[in-house]
Structures are given as structure tokens and as C-alpha cells.
Symmetry: C2
Subunit: 215 residues, 2 copies
Amino acid sequence: MDTLSPEQLISRLQWRYATKEFDSQRKIPTDDWEKIEKSLVLTPSSFGLQPWKFITVTDQATKESLLEHSWHQRQVTDCSHMVVLCAKDTMDPADIEAWLDRLCTVRNVSRDTLEGYAGMMTGFFSNMSPEQTSAWAKNQVYIALGQLMTAAAVIGVDACPMEGIVPAEYDRLLGLDGSGFSTSVGCAMGYRSAGDKYADLPKVRYSSSQVIENC
Amino acid sequence: MDTLSPEQLISRLQWRYATKEFDSQRKIPTDDWEKIEKSLVLTPSSFGLQPWKFITVTDQATKESLLEHSWHQRQVTDCSHMVVLCAKDTMDPADIEAWLDRLCTVRNVSRDTLEGYAGMMTGFFSNMSPEQTSAWAKNQVYIALGQLMTAAAVIGVDACPMEGIVPAEYDRLLGLDGSGFSTSVGCAMGYRSAGDKYADLPKVRYSSSQVIENC
């Protein structure tokens, strides 16, 4: 099965940057987009619970409506696909059961073999306040954001993560109110414009010795 | 520059799984490990602020000491490299200045060209409680976790994300108390044991239509 070499991986991560200017004429081909969606679906999560929803906005009028709630960053309107990553607000016993049902179906096991696992999950959430549960879900959504950006980089698709959005307005415009999910963060995706001067700026990170410790 | 095809990407994400049993005899080669560390360093973050520290534990006695604070999951001791991902506790004006200094040095620009950017960051944090700032930092750490797992998958290294750890005990054992950083989550890395039956189980995810919405 084809892998990248570690050197190739680093080249891809050096290639990527938070795209400031997308080529608004260039759209991600449908076949490729389906794989990117698949990569979102395959994101790992705590206990496997997938406490998220991903909204892909391609309708231009909808993208325009989001602009004023995105610090007017044109990536929202100029990108090919605007992904809005949403976290689940609560985790109820029914959510755990839904997940266990799915597990039983896909792996063809009976529910009673999963009692220990079910108990672990129930115990985990019983110790958490609603705020902690919602923060936990949001953390999982950020795993998805990390996987999405890396996945895009290794296949040559550009992305711009966007925390500078107004989640409540996104919720309203995307019909999330009352859905049990709330906007966490956005990620504009597509292809960089040839004129984006940010593409060539040196990447700025702290040195390894500043952020990595060995023991 | 070499990329994966979208199909190859999905194959890699299908290949990965939360490794339950590592081959404790097999270590990640130093050259490869350096690239994995580099991939951590290159993780994107909000404003570029990198509010994190990554601790790589390879010392066997230290790994053993973490075991009882990790729900006794043997991945901690059997993996090649145990990565502990830590979030910054606070974001002070000095942290923003340190980042701007770094930016000026690497891009060879003067500090006064960054006033607008500095103001945006200061404004962002001035509206946040200490709890919100710490949650923000933890979210960034989860981007790193997502990137780390995806990066590992595309180069053929196994990983097991570990939320089932006791952060306060990790902080104590790893000397983080008083450092300004706290343990968020772990990620054991190495190579799967040939006997790990979890490797062959079907991956369980909700369907695309359950987690993805288009508009």
C-alpha cells in the first residue's frame, strides 16, 4: 500500500499554509471531494463516538451570507468548499446507545458483549458537567480539523482554518439552532490563487527545542 | 512534489486504527522520528500562536510510571514513543510578544508592521475568561493530535490516541507542575503487533449521510 516517505510528508506540510487568497474559478473535482468527505468521516474520536457534524457549503449565496460573520475574510466566498465543523452539544444515554447499535451492526456482534465498554462510556460522562461534555466534543472536532488539513495537504488541496467566525450567526444561517449541534470552527478549501503572496512567506514556528521535550 | 492520490489517502486512513497492542521490540528509527517531531512542530494553530508543548517519552521506567495513570493500557509501555500533548495554561501579553518576536526574526520584518495583527490577538484574548483561554489552547492541541495521527498513517507508523489518562498525575510525573503547561492527551506511537486482533476489525463510523450535510 502506498505511503509517503517521512521526507515527502514534511514537504507536504511545508507546502501547506493558511491560504489567504483562493482561486475562485477553480473547484475541487467531485471525485476528489468525495474522498475528502470520506477522510472527515474516518476521523478518529474518543471512544469512537464521533460527536460531530460537518456542513459543506458550496452554494454561493449561502457563502456570501456567512461573509459578514467571518471577519469579512474572502476565503469563505472564494474557496471551492467551505466546511463548517460542528460539535454535539450534549451526550445522552441515547447517543451512547446509537453508537453501540452502529458498532453491533457493522461488526456483527451482539449488544451484550459490549457491556464493559458501555459502562466505561457511561462512567466517563457521568463525571462531567454539561460544559465539560461540550468542551470534550469540541476537542474531538479539532481532531477532525487537524486530520482534514493534513489530509488536504498530502493530496495537494489548499485549506484555511478559520476560527475568526461568529458561531452563533453560523448556527442561525445554517439552520443549526435546535439541532443539538453548534458551529466550532470553519475550514475553507480549494486552490490557492497564483497571486497569494502569503504562499511564499517563510513558515514561522517555534524551534523543536522550544516545543518538544524528550524524557 | 510527491502527493498521495485521494484514493491512496483513504487507503491510509483505512489502514490506521487505534492500535491496542504494539510490537514492543520494534522502535521507530531515529530519522523517521525526527520527521514525526517536525510534523508536530509544523502543526497549524490559531493566529499561529502554538500554545503547546509535546513531551516524547521513550525512557522505559518513565513509561512504566505512567501506566497506572493510563487505565493500565499497555500501549503506554509497549509503544516506541509515547507522546504527551500539553496545552498552555494562559496567554499573557508576553506570550503574544514572544510570538511576534519570532515572526519578526523568521520573516525579517519590523515589529511596527504587525500592529494590526497584534491588536487582533490582544482583542481576542481580552474577551476570554481564563477557562476559555485554556479551552482554546486545548483545542489547538487537538489539531496537533489530528495532524499527528494522520501524518503517522500516511508514512505507515501506528498510533493510539489516549484520552484515558489522568492528566494531573502525568503533570506530576513529567515535571509539568508550575511549567505553565498541562497534559491534555496522549498518543502512543510505534508499530502494531502481528497479534493485535483489533487491526482486522471493520472500522466503525457513522455513514456520510449521518455526519455530512451539504448546502
